[in-house]
Structure formats: C-alpha cells, structure tokens
Amino acid sequence: MRTIHALLLNLLIGLNVFILFFLLFESRIVVSPALQVLGRGHPLFLHFPIVLLVLAWGLSWFGDRLGIPQNAAKRFIYVLLFASAWSAAITVVAGLLLAKEGGYEGSGFLWHKWMGVVLCFLANGLLWYYRWSTERAGRHHRFFLAGLSLSLVVLLVAGHQGAGLTHGDDFLFEPLRDNRQKTLDMATAVVYQDLVYPILKAKCLSCHSTNKAKGDLVLADTASLMKGGENGPVLVKGSVGESLMMQRLLLDLDHEHRMPPKGKPQLTSEELALIDAWIASGADFNIPLAELPPNDTIRYLVATLYDAAEETFDFAAADAEIIEKLNSPYRVVKPLAQTSPALAVGYFGKAFYNDRSLRELEPINQQVVSLTLSGMPLTGGDRDVLGAFANLRELMLNGTPVDDSWSEMLSQLSKLQSVSLSSTDMTEAGLTKVLSAPALRTVYVWNTGIDAAALERLQQQYKHVRIERGYVDDGSTVLPLNDPIITPVSKFFNDKIQVTLAHPVTGVELRYTLDGAEPDSVHSMIYKAPFDVAASTVVRVKGYKAGWLSSREIKRAFHRSAHSPAKVVLLSQPDPRYKGRGAYSLYDLESGSNNHADGKWLGSHGRPIIASMHFDTGIGVDTIGIDIKQDYGSHIYPPEWVEVWGGADSVSAQLLSRFRPELHKPEQVSPTRLVNVPVGGKNIRYLRLTVEPYIPIPAGYPANGNPAWIFADEITVR
C-alpha cells in the first residue's frame, strides 16, 4: 500500500512537470489521434476535482461541527486532496490536449486555461503543504484553509469560463436578458414592425411606455409615436434633421437631453443608422423590406444586423477521399473553409468537359453549395444531374447553352440564392419560371435576349429578387475609334514595300489615300488587302464604323532608297551610348522609334557624323536623304550643315553639295524628319557625308549655348 502511495505521489510530480513542459512547448506539440481521445475526456474528468475540492473544503471548515473525529477527518481530507490533485492534473492534461485540436480562442478560453492550470498547481501545492503541516496546528492550519478557499474561487472562475466555452458565452445569465430575435425572414419582414420597433422596444420602451411615459412620450404604438411628447412631435417623416427623436439620439453622451441617457443601454451605430435611414426614406410604417430597391441603405444595414453570422450547414461532410479523387486540373472541389462541410466546385477548360464531368459529382451532390459551370458545353443530361443538388446556393451558368428547358429544374432548387445566367439563351418565359425559386435573391441576366421592358416588368413583380441587367449598349454611347495600325514600322525600302493596314476593333472600315490627301469616308479607297508601294509615298488612313466616331488619322511616309551601298564606313566615332549597329544602322532600312536609345539610332554630341558609302557600279545621285531625330528639349537638333563629297573613288571625290537644312521653330518640331540634300552627281561609286551639329545651339532655342546632339538612323540615296 505504501509503495503504491509513493508511486502515485511520484507520478503526480511527473504529471505536473509534464504540464509545465506542455505549456512551454505548446506551439510545437502535435497530438496523435489516440491522445485526442484522452483530450476529449476533459469534460468528464473535470467533474472530479470540482466535487472533491468542494468536499475537502467543506470537511476542513465544518468537519468539527459535524462531529467527525479529528483523526478520521484528517485522513479523509488527505485522501480527498490526493484525489483532487490527481484528477486536477489529469483534467489539465486532457484539457491541453483538447485545446490543441483547435477552435478554441478568445479571452474566455485563456481565462479557463490558465485558471485551470493555476487550480491544478494549487491543489498539488495544498497536498504537499498538508502533508508537511499535518502534524502542526494553528497558523499552518489557517494558511491551509485560506489556500483551500482560494482554490475554490479559482475553481469557480475556471468552471464558469469552461461552461462558457461549451454552452456559449452568457450561458449562465442568458435567461435574464432580453433576447432580440436574430432571425428575420427577408421576404415578409416589414421595416418598421420587424426592424425599427424591436430597437425601440429594447432601448426606449423601458421609460417611454404607457406605464412610465417619461416626458409624456410613448413609443409603444405608432399613433403615440407620431403624437410625440411634451416638446411636440418627435418624428418628422422624411427629415432626419427635424426629427427631435433623432436629435436626442445623436446628442453628446454627457448632454442632459441625450437619449438614451448615460448609463442606460445605448443604440449601436447600425441601429442608429437604421432609424436614420428609415426616417430619411419617409418613415413609412407599413413598407415591407422586400419592396425596397436592391441597393437601399436599409437592406445593407439589415445584412449587417441579421446576417452577419456565417451560414451553418446541417448536412454531413463528404468523404475526404472522394473529394480528393474528384479533383483534377479541370475540376476543383474544395470545402468553403477548413471546418466546413459545404463544398464549392469549379470547372475550367471547356475542351476537357464531357458528359461525365458533372455526373461524377453525384456522391457529393448534397454537399455542393456553390457551383461554377461558366463557359462549359452543358447538355440536357447535365440538367437532370444538376436537379439533385439540393443544397446549391450559388450557381454560375454564364456563357453556357442553358435555355428555357432548364428553368423548371432551377426553380426546384429550394436553397438556390443566386444564379448567373449572363450570355445564355434564357428568354423571358424561362426567367419568369426561374424567379419562382423560393430562396432566390439575385439573378444575373446580362447579355441575354430578354428585352429591357420585360426585365423591368419582372423586377416590379419580383421585388425581393435583384435582377442584374448589366451594361446595355443602347446606342447612346458614341466613342471615337482608336488608332489604325500601319505596318511595317520601318519606312525605308529599296524596290517596293508591302504595306498592311489594320485596326484592333473588328468590323472597322479603313479608308486610306496614297496621294497625300486627307482620307475621308466617301472618296478614299477602302482597305481590303495589303498593297505594294514602289515610290516614296505617304500613306494616310482613318477608321470608320457605324455607332462609333471616326478614328484619328494615322500617316506614315515610306521612302525609297534607290541604291543600296555595298558598304558604309563610319569615319567618326558615334557617342558610345548611342552607337546603334554602327555603320549598318545607316542602310539597314530600319527606322528608329521615338526612343533614341532603342539601338537603332546613331548619336553624336557636339561632333560631326562622317560616313563614306561605296557602290559597286557608278550611279547617278539626285538627292540624299538623312533621317534624323528632333527633340529640342533633349538638345537633339537637325544638323547645321551637311557636306557631300562624291566621285569614282575617295581620291577623286569632289564637293558635290554643302547644304544647310532649315531649323524649324520649337513649336513646329516633328520627332523625326527626313532631311533631303540636293546633290546632282553622275557615275558615282564613292560618297562621303559630313553631318555637322550646331555648336553652339543658336539663341532663341532651348538649351542655347550648348553643343547640340544629332541622331540619324538611315541615309537614302535617290
């Protein structure tokens, strides 16, 4: 017996160390299923320490008076304490294991947990103290009694908080409270009777009823409410500002006229907003909630006041293995949340959808509450399968071949709240049937064949359902078309170039000209197919489409470079940051973009670009074109001078032209420009160009006084 006693004592110490350890490493502990069973024993074990401790306490205090012999009482108290300490330790361990299963949080839980732990240690401490002090009397005994009483208080706190966790907060005092009905039938609720009056009843009627009638004001019935009190009417329909009631409700809490007065239960901000919105809307005593427009403030407030709690589902969860098996890249089956039995299913990739895709969900069709089938090629077979999804709340059928034959099935889905039928073949008759679905609140019918008048009629008839029509192009929005696109981007060619015109919007008529005239919608050519341009040409194009304003005009000049040089040599060094593709840039027939750092432009700062061009046969040169960039703000200017030397070879070359291009005014500058240099030379096999920048930039121009940049991307020879 002694050995067992010693063993139990030692084990008890072990248990307490274990509890400490558990508390220290709590976040990293993983509980095995076997231990979960132990954990779930918590609600059973916890009754032992409660009873045993109370007994020990009673015996310690009143043992004498009950006439129990002192020795027997001592032994009995020891046994009780021993059992309390043991059962408390086991209860704590079980409780900690149970808590690891998750779902417990908040201050109530924390109080329960720590009070439980404190109680366990208190009980153990008392046991050891009792063992030590049992031979001694007097002061020691008084300490013991105090400790025991303290543990009783801790027991009460821990027990109460624990009950709160199991039965819900306020379980104990709930019967004493005035419980407001938290459920509301949206379809039948009357705004005043079911929303406003309950607030008045809970927060105002204790003083403003027929029994009490403070300030001669009675709010119990509508007639008295309209009559008002000693200061006159309290409610002015439609005017929140003039309604005395609202004024009093909004006064500062410390104000002497504030209602409800300081110390009484106050209205929440939602309740205030609800009364406010109801008065503002005309304070109609009889208007049903369902008749309010879908986006009415009162509706939103009702949603916060009554629907805030998450919906709970009364069906069992589906087998996790089945869910796992049903998942594929083209069908996603997921619970709504970690602990929810409800499932949401989505389908993707219509090429992978077949007649089994939906049928395979049959084992879980009671659990699916949200289903997205948008874009899938649904069939009549799918319709029959879908009819068995009795718990469906949300259904997306956008862009499917769903038509009126589906409406009977949809109207039978008793839980269906929202159905999206955008871009389907549903007609007015079908929709009318769908609208009779009992729980339906929202239906999306954008881009169906149903006309606006019919939808308006149905909306009037089914006020509790929001019929979302979406954007309808009624012809009143007339937008300008965006820019047509001319390809290729490059504007240089040798013999001919194929030009393609396009517009991002389908069905746009492109009208273009090649003679330099402005295109119009009457005379200009209509673009049908790509065309060739063989001479230097300006292509101008505009887009037209019925229901749209015409586009801006887009134009591009294509320049012919009749003679391609066999070789071009750069005799000057371009700026290292803008060396393009070296000499090749100048005859690659590619034009640079608006960004001079795009790698197609040759740039030089304050120094000339000098290039020589070599031809295999002698050619006649009429004009040389240099394509340059202009951006005065960035110091990029046209050349001040262009010098052209030419001849049979570099030795015999003579000065053919020294040309000064016009310097455009800053307000007329175009970003790119082809500078044409008249030359006039025959039998030329060698050309040397010197393109000199402005040094410095002349007065009256941006950045004057600084050396200018020159940028060139192509040289054409005609």
Partner: protein, 490 residues
C-alpha cells in the same frame, strides 16, 4: 550541544540525505515526463517549421467573402486632392504657406525639403457628388463617378514610406526592404490556385503618358516562399507569357515526352537531395504545359462582343494598354486566378499636374469603371475584391513654381485615397476623414498593415495565422501589426 539538538541535527541530516535521494529520483521522473512529452513533438530536433503543414490544406480558415483579388495599382502616387478627397480650403488659401502646425515636422523628400515656402494649392479640377452615396469625385474620373455606389472609398490610408520604391515594396510585401513575399504570393501560399491551368498570381503592367516610375519583377516575388507562388507576368504581344510556346519544330507529343523524362530525372534528384525546389520545378513545368492551352484561350480578346469593347473603350483590344489589361484581368479572374496584379505607371506628378493627371485619368477611368460593371453583370463582383490606388498620396502644397493651371505635388505618406469594390466590402461608402488641409487624418486611419489584414480577412485568412518560418522566426504579410478594418465590411 544538548542531546535534543543533536537528535534534531541528525534528523535534519537524515532528511537532507533522504531529500537528495528523493531529489534525484524525482528529477528522473521529471526528465522522464519531459522526454515523454517530447514524443508529442515530432520535429523537436529536426529544426524544420510546422507552419507549412498546417497550410497544406490550402483552405481558408473561415468562409471567405472574396475568392479572388484584382488589384489595379496606380504606380507613382495618385493625388488624393485631385481624385477623391476634395479640399475647398486649399483653393481658398491658394498660395499661402502651409502652417507648420499642420505639417508637424513631417519629413520631406529631397525634392521639396529645400523649398523656402510650401504654398498651398487647390485642385485644378472641380468635384461633384455622385450616386446615392453622394461621394465626391473629381471631374477627371467621370466613369468611376458613375459606379461610385459600388465603391468603398477610403480617404484615410497612410504609409510609412515617402519614396516610390520603398512605398510600393511596402504595399506589395508589408516591408519597405525587398525580399519578402508579395501579397499575391502570400495568397497563393495560403489558398493555392483554383484553376491549376493558370498561375495563382498573375501580373499585368501598363504605362500611361504621365511621369512614371519603374515597376520591377521584385514586386511580384515569392520572397522566401516556394517559387511556385511567384507572380507570372503577362505581356502585351504575340507571346503573352514569355517562353511558353514550343520552339519551332517541336510538337506537343515530343514536348510531353520531354516533360515526362525530365520529371523522372528530377524525382531521382529529389530522392537524393530532398530539395523542395525540385518538386516546385516539376510542378511549374506541368503547369506551363497546361498553360500552353489555357493561356491562348484566356488572352484571346478577339471574341469579345462589341458592347464589351464599348464598355472598356476600344483600347481594350490593343495589347499592353491599361484597358486591355483590365479586360484580361477580368478574364483571368473569371478563370479562377486568385490574384491579378495590375500596375499602371505614370502617376508621379511633381510638375504639370493639371495636364498630366487628366491624361493619366483618361487612360484608366473608363476601363476601371468597366471592370466593376463587367464583374457585376456576370455575378462575379460579390466574390472578387477589386482595389484601386497608389503607393502614397501627394502634398497639399506645390512643388516648384505655382500657377493656377500648372503646379506639381510631392509625395505625401500621411493620407491618401484608395477604393475597394466587391468582395464583401461595403458599397457606396466613404471611410475615414482628413483635415481641411488634406494633410493629416482626423478620423479612422487605415495603415497599410490594416489594409493588408483586411484583404486577407476577406479571403478567409487570419493575417496573424498566415505565417511562414524563415531565418528563425515566423513572418506574416502584416509582420507584427495590422487590424482588420471591420467598419468597411458588409
């Protein structure tokens, strides 16, 4: 020494010995219990974190209001004073110096710190009230004004950073320095992908005509999370996703065979090294293979009906524009992409604001509003959270020379406006209040961390529980701060 005392000492000594023995035996019990307890911690000595295992389910903790997010990021810092937060006082006090009591020692950027005066400047554009909610919207956003009853405008956002890169990094990752996972990566990590044929986190970038600031791929990084959570950029052009199409001459069968062989080799490598990045790589190859079918389907805008083109504006058919990205965002979102991140550059109006901002607004106004309308008419707005806003606001005083029709504004972190729509956020609401100078918040401040906490909450995630263990501690998107802004939630 008296006999009694000696006996007492003997007894005490005996107790001492006994106690040592007891001590040792009980110590062993204690250690034994601890050892027993340690059996409950499978990875006590392995050093790994357990956080990710808890998240393997990739499910929201509680039923979410929003399933997806489309974040229309207006990069550069939209001026709240010319968009959603009208301040008539600034027009009255045009040109007068910002009172020091209002500025309250706010640090300034190097661009205006040297200014001798801080002349107040009122909005060049007029404001008007729209919709049932009567929210104020400036005249540059006529289309957004039309859908204002669907928006929840927050005027009281504030941030810690005053320059673009730290501020935008802060908005994306919850920290001003880089290397933390972006919001989309966190969501991909926490909730996984709905459509396994597309990345959970897609990125679309466009550029307006205004003064712009860089947007770099570090903003859509997975940080320390697994690289499958990285954002994937969709480009405007023939190849929306880079390197996705097969090289010329490769058919789909041989591609498949190559992936299978590669997966085999990778799994050998994984067995040898156990590096989870190898598995991530295999998953990415597989997704890329499926994306070869799904991406062309999603990015094909040519089948959009004419009235959709009118809704978004014709630029929605020009790849790479903001309008096209909005349309694409709708299509991606409709196809289950968890987080679509748009960036539109060009909102950094240090000068020439009246001119530049009008152009910027023209680029985004119609398409942003169209996205709301379009989601709504398909029944998707309720489950999609749309966010519109930049990384900070702009100062109420002028940067540089002040003319009534030509002025600039510097960066301002203390208050700015963004809007949210759908996804369980209250529609037709204006939240938060700034002072009459538009400089400080006087009511309901929302910090970037609060903003993040709220977004995660709408997707069914507790921002304090979405953690990842890295470098010896747990990290969150909101790090150690953040409170859900319940006032704006339905």
């Amino acid at each position: 020494m008296k006999k009694d005392e000696m006996i007492a000492k003997e007894v005490a000594n005996a107790r001492l010995f006994q106690n040592r023995r007891q001590f040792l035996s009980r110590l062993s019990i204690g250690i034994g219990s601890a050892a027993l307890g340690s059996l409950l911690i499978p990875d006590l000595f392995s050093g790994g974190g357990v956080d990710e295992e808890g998240l393997m389910a990739r499910l929201p903790e509680f039923a979410p209001k929003a399933k997806r997010v489309i974040y229309l990021f207006q990069s550069g810092g939209v001026s709240q004073l010319e968009s959603f937060d009208p301040k008539p006082k600034l027009r009255e006090m045009m040109g007068q110096d910002l009172p020091e009591s209002i500025r309250g020692g706010q640090r300034l950027t190097g661009m205006t710190a040297g200014q001798a005066t801080f002349p107040l400047v009122g909005s060049y554009y007029d404001f008007a009230q729209y919709g049932k909610s009567g929210a104020w919207v400036s005249s540059v956003f006529p289309h957004m004004a039309n859908v204002v009853d669907d928006l929840c405008i927050i005027r009281s956002l504030h941030t810690d950073a005053i320059n673009h890169d730290p501020a935008i990094t802060f908005f994306q990752t919850g920290a001003q320095q880089g290397n933390r996972p972006s919001m989309g990566a966190w969501l991909s990590y926490g909730l996984g992908s709905d459509n396994q044929n597309l990345p959970a986190f897609c990125v679309l970038v466009s550029k307006g005509k205004g003064n712009g600031q860089g947007v770099y791929s570090k903003l859509w990084t997975n940080g320390f999370l697994d690289s499958v959570h990285q954002g994937v950029q969709f480009m405007g052009g023939p190849d929306p996703v880079l390197y996705l199409s097969d090289p010329p001459g490769t058919d789909r069968m041989s591609r498949r065979a190559m992936f299978d062989k590669l997966a085999e080799l990778n799994s050998l490598q994984f067995e040898a090294f156990g590096d989870p990045e190898i598995t991530a790589k295999v998953q990415q190859y597989e997704m890329a293979y499926r994306m070869q079918t799904s991406v062309p389907e999603v990015t094909d805008l040519s089948k959009e009906p004419d009235h959709i083109v009118k809704l978004y504006g014709p630029d929605c058919l020009v790849p790479g524009t903001y309008a096209a990205n909005c349309l694409l965002a709708r299509k991606l979102s409709e196809n289950g992409v968890r987080f679509v991140q748009l960036y539109h550059q060009g909102w950094d109006q240090h000068g020439g604001l009246p001119y530049e901002m009008a152009m910027q607004a023209k680029d985004v106004d119609q398409a942003s509003a169209a996205l709301i309308t379009d989601l709504k008419q398909r029944g998707l707005l309720d489950e999609t959270l749309v966010i519109w806003g930049g990384e900070f606001g702009r100062t109420n005083y002028c940067q540089g020379n002040l003319e009534y029709n030509n002025y600039g504004r510097d960066h301002h972190p203390r208050c700015f406006s963004v809007w949210m729509a759908g996804g369980g956020v209250k529609p037709g609401m204006v939240y938060g209040e700034t002072d009459e100078f538009g400089y400080n918040i006087v009511k309901d401040p929302v910090h970037v961390h609060d903003f993040h906490a709220t977004i995660l909450h709408q997707l069914g995630l507790n921002h304090e529980k979405l953690t990842y263990r890295h470098l010896g501690r747990r990290y969150r998107l909101t790090d150690v701060a953040g409170t859900v802004v319940n006032d704006i939630l339905v």
